[in-house]
């Protein structure tokens, strides 16, 4: 008689292979499954080993199975013919965010708490299915039926949220870059064509030339920002990190943004809660760029007559800089995504390039700090930290 673990290991391999993805982890897992199957197959058959009458073979088998499935990066669930869960591996508990010990010895639905996953396992149709979990995550689930006691069927679950987001980001990037470039190109082309066909009035000609230059500058700006982002992402950008007075940084940024704020009818306020002359470790120009980016965003989302407040305070070994506006705020679901390229939470109002916060995130991370959207409403508060220059290394 063949060892039942071999069957299960093979079933895992089948289920994994079915859900074939361009993902190295999957092949690693499949490879591990094959190796384990081979290793188990090479072991002496059950009868050849000394009999252990005191241990019921099923318990022993489940125990062994649990040990082997614990190694796999894929979430795996094994059920018996009554749909009771024999084994749920740690990866599955992690993916479903449930305590693993509560997932075994109970019914399928009690273990997974998810009717769609239970359905995949019941159908065991071979085709992998993508199932959305409640918290904006998505998993790819596949099942194989064995109908060999005690194992009836096996479910594999892989968290593909990151993969889905990357796919989405890639297609959005292409769409957005084309979209962002198209408007200034169309404008520049129209202006150039008009000039080419001849404009008699010298004043109008000069105005068209100025507009053409403006559109080309905008194009250049977008391309420049994309390149900056690309350099930051590949860590090719040189940083000149030295002690910088953080309050001065904030004041210069505010002075830079004042004309923009005045045009939008928004007041700017600075609260310095750090000691006078407090220093942070930063690249002066890059740090300035982060603050102006946050201010620019805050002003853009502020109602006329609103106030944008920038606040500096100590936060352990770091100095925290927060920019708060009185706009519509940022949805919890968008709090992570606002730092993605071209992601503008409210597209109707997003007149920026959608690259500012992505650049800010990379810059802050290179400077050794963090950037996040603070909780609370009304309005949005974006904060970032920079290491204090006087903090012990």
């Amino acid at each position: 008689m063949r060892h039942p673990t071999v069957l299960v290991a093979l079933a895992v391999v089948v289920a994994l292979a079915v859900a074939a993805l361009p993902d190295p982890f999957r092949w690693l897992a499949a490879g591990a499954g094959v190796l384990l199957a081979g290793w188990l197959g090479a072991r002496p058959p059950e009868a050849a080993r000394p009999a252990r009458p005191e241990a019921p073979p099923v318990i022993d088998f489940v125990h062994e199975l649990r040990g082997l499935l614990a190694l796999l990066p894929e979430g795996i669930l094994v059920i018996d013919a009554q749909e009771d869960v024999l084994v749920a591996n740690p990866a599955l508990a992690r993916i479903l965010r449930r305590p693993r010990e509560e997932m075994e010895g109970v019914s399928l639905i009690r273990a997974t708490r998810d009717a769609a996953l239970a359905q995949v396992l019941r159908e065991a149709a071979g085709e992998p299915r993508d199932v959305a979990l409640g918290d904006d995550r998505i998993v790819r689930a596949a099942a194989a039926r064995l109908e060999a006691a005690p194992v009836h069927a096996v479910l594999t679950v892989q968290d593909i949220t990151a993969l889905r987001n990357a796919e989405r980001a890639r297609s959005e990037l292409v769409a957005n870059v084309s979209h962002e470039l198209r408007t200034p190109i169309a404008a520049a082309r129209a202006l150039a064509e008009t000039l080419e066909s001849g404009v008699d009035d010298a004043e109008r000609r000069a105005r068209f030339h100025a507009s053409l230059t403006h559109e080309l500058e905008r194009l250049g700006d977008i391309v420049e920002r994309l390149l900056t982002l690309s350099r930051l992402e590949s860590r090719a950008e040189e940083f000149d990190i030295r002690p910088v007075e953080v309050a001065e940084l904030a004041r210069v940024a505010v002075a830079r943004m004042l004309p923009v704020a005045e045009r939008s009818g928004v007041a700017l306020a600075v609260h310095v809660a750090t000691p006078a002359g407090a220093l942070v470790l930063a690249d002066h120009e890059r740090g300035l760029e982060v603050i102006t980016n946050l201010l620019d965003n805050a002003i853009r989302y502020s109602p006329r007559g609103g106030t944008v407040t920038i606040r500096l305070e100590a936060d352990g070994d770091m100095t925290r800089v927060c920019v708060r506006d009185e706009g519509p705020g940022i949805l919890p679901a968008d709090r992570q995504r606002v730092f993605e390229r071209f992601y503008t939470a409210d597209r109707a109002r997003g007149s920026g390039t959608g690259l500012g916060l992505a650049i800010a995130r990379h810059t802050v991370s290179r400077l050794g700090g963090e950037i996040w959207v603070a909780e609370g409403s009304p309005g949005a508060t974006l904060c970032f930290t920079l290491p204090r220059a006087d903090a012990p290394a």
Binding site: L108, A115, A132, P328
Partner: protein, 221 residues
């Protein structure tokens, strides 16, 4: 042996409550997704899938009836089974409300939103929490947890008031927004009803555990 089998049948009913709860939760999730993305195809899918929710609810109610007929259960068991039938009809209605949101999405097509959706997703998330917690309270027969679900309904009602007031203001400001505002008001109303049904499940939990049916629903709607 029959007792053991009976216990298994009761456990299967509780599993059914979990399964239905998960299906309804997904329906609410997808309905909100359809609203946020203005995804009419997804909305149509939800309306279609609601039939399956109804079918499972009906199937479980039947299972309750045959269990009552065959086993003539008493006391706690009897109350448990009767509660499951009541919970099934609550969940079936919650599924209808999720499908109701989907129907509004179909009706709206690509009509612009009159205001950004900020309170609405929070309301949906609270309603889903209430559903999940009410199901867990029922499984554990946990009276305190059930009362907490009832208390959580107050926040949903408060969010509903907020959305209602905001939308009325939008309509007063610009009468051309009356129709799209009304659509959003219906969505909020469906969410409010879903939360109320979760409160019903919590009430059933107390009934199942104690034999007394409290009135947790202090909602003004």
């Amino acid at each position: 042996m029959p007792r053991e089998q009976f216990q298994r049948q009761i456990a299967a009913l509780q599993d059914g409550v979990l399964e239905m709860g998960s299906m309804v939760e997904r329906a609410v999730d997808r309905a909100m997704q359809a609203l946020m993305d203005r995804d009419v195809a997804l909305a149509r899918g939800i309306i279609e899938d609601d039939r399956e929710v109804n079918a499972i609810g009906f199937h479980l109610q039947n299972a309750c009836i045959s269990l009552l007929a065959q086993q003539a259960p008493m006391a706690g068991d009897l109350r448990m089974i009767v509660s499951v039938t009541a919970i099934m009809s609550d969940m079936e209605r919650m599924g209808d409300h999720a499908a109701g949101i989907a129907k509004i999405v179909v009706m709206m097509q690509d009509e612009p939103l009159v205001k950004p959706l900020i309170d609405m997703p929070i309301m949906a998330s609270r309603a889903k929490d209430m559903l999940r917690n009410s199901v867990q309270a029922f499984l554990d027969q946990d009276i305190e947890a059930a009362y907490r679900v009832g208390a959580a309904d107050e926040e949903v009602d408060r969010l509903y008031d907020q959305i209602y007031a905001d939308l009325i203001q939008v309509m007063v400001g610009d009468p051309t927004t009356i129709e799209p505002s009304t659509h959003l008001l219906w969505v909020a109303h469906n969410l409010e009803r879903i939360a109320d049904r979760a409160t019903n499940i919590a009430e059933r939990t107390v009934y199942s555990a104690t034999g007394m049916l409290p009135q947790m629903d202090v909602s003004t709607y």
